[in-house]
Amino acid sequence: MDISNKDRARELPVQQIDVFTDTRDILAHANRAAKKRGFEDWLICDVDAHHTETISWHELVQYIEDPVIRHQAMLFHDEKMGTASYGLNGDMGLKYQDVGGRIPHQAGIREKVDDGVHRDVTLSRRAMSALGVDYMVLFPTPMLTLGLHPQPEMEVYLGRAYNRWLIDKVLSKDDRLKTLAYLPFNVPKEAERTIEEFSGQPGVIGFCVPSVRHKAVHHNDYMRIYAMLEERNLPIAFHAAYHWQDQSLATINRFLGMHALGFVWCNMVHMTNWILNGIPERFPKLKSIWVESGLAWIPFLMQRLDDQYLMRPSEAPQLKKLPSEYMRENCWYTTQPMETVNMKALQLTLEMINAESQLLFASDWPHFDFDLPQEIYDLPFLSEQAKRNILGLNAAKLFNLDPTVRKTL
């Protein structure tokens, strides 16, 4: 039997995806899906994507402001062997996100990068292009537990160094890359200084509080910070994470359970304090964004707080409406990881949070539970306008971004 070339199967260049596979190959199906859905004329803002800042830690520590700490950090990286990144706390050996190697892009991105710009610029560009994203908001990864550091000043040193390094090496190289700058929240005066210094810097569109920490968001020490952000019309984001030292999660033995609860619990606690202490009443124009906790927790907390509040209004005297009303009018949420197994529950969730104006697409790329823009596009119960809002227009409005589509697919 004669077989013409058109009838020959073509072997794919990548037979098995691993940590060395190019981002564009890993996400080839995503790119096809973006083209199929016509995303070339859809503004897509990815409000939560990540890079692994510790890969560049030897470079980043050179941006530490304090000359003594900077010198220590540089010597640490030049001379010490077999150690973690200078000054970083956290569960460095307990990071099982890649499910024992099953999800290689979570374990590491070791593809060739030789574009003459910082690797994080190149890798972000590749991901944006593959996903069909116009703007990408970058967050750090291991630094998300710095709020638990035993030395509060280390959060200041490293948080400020990170902001300066990120602007210099990454954000200033591509105006489609943005960040919510790291706020050293455990030292309020330094957080205020951070807002003064970094507002208006290239790519800075707001500020981020990594959520795992034991500081109360309603403490009077933070009121000046909220006032400063409200005056500047800059949002504050609470970016979730997990940590194994949380005593309330001490019995959990599987990463699945730790991730499922840890990434939600920290933001549930902060949101409860945020609402019951009337922060939205005191700062009605301050926009808070709740990042990377998924969405399923929000209806639960709305119902729970509404019920309890109506029985005990004297304990939340600043409130003029139901907690759920503040949560749907004063708060914004990122989509990822969007829980989709029960679509009815998801539909109700989106209605309850007024997703058409309050929901922001986020991929969380390159993490193991990343989402794609197509997941919003394919939802059967949303109007096209709602999808366009969630995928990009809500973020453009919130962050004052030019809503013109920037990508080529």
Partner: protein, 121 residues
């Protein structure tokens, strides 16, 4: 119906695979316990490249007569492929998900003639 020539039968060793494009569609052909199985390279979760994922034996957790557990173990009788996007796992012989049976891979038809492997779409 179209047929696409993939390779000679002996090019896919036991435990091996060949992932190919047949026109617009991608198919992964795997040899498990001597037999070939072909699946569309499209994870039912988020349409990820399932056939390009790592292959693992099924993970089990034996429970003893006291209902206690001690170790996790591999069951080499059931080989799984894990989607490299999000880790969804499927049995390479049956296409069934490691968890709920309602999630399945989409099987592709194979034809073997004169030692050559063809995908039939």
């Amino acid at each position: 119906m179209a047929e696409y020539l993939v390779c000679s039968e002996d090019e896919i060793a036991d435990g091996g695979r060949k992932v190919v494009a047949c026109g617009e569609r991608e198919i992964g052909i795997f040899r498990v316990k001597g037999a070939l199985h072909a699946w569309h390279n499209m994870c039912p979760h988020r349409q990820g490249p399932i056939c390009q994922g790592r292959i693992y034996p099924q993970v089990i957790e034996p429970v003893d007569e006291r209902q206690e557990v001690r170790t996790l173990q591999y069951n080499e009788e059931n080989m799984h492929v894990a989607c490299p996007w999000h880790g969804w796992e499927f049995n390479l012989e049956t296409g069934r998900n490691a968890g709920p049976a309602k999630y399945r891979l989409h099987r592709a038809e194979l034809a073997i003639r004169e030692g050559q492997v063809y995908v039939v779409l």
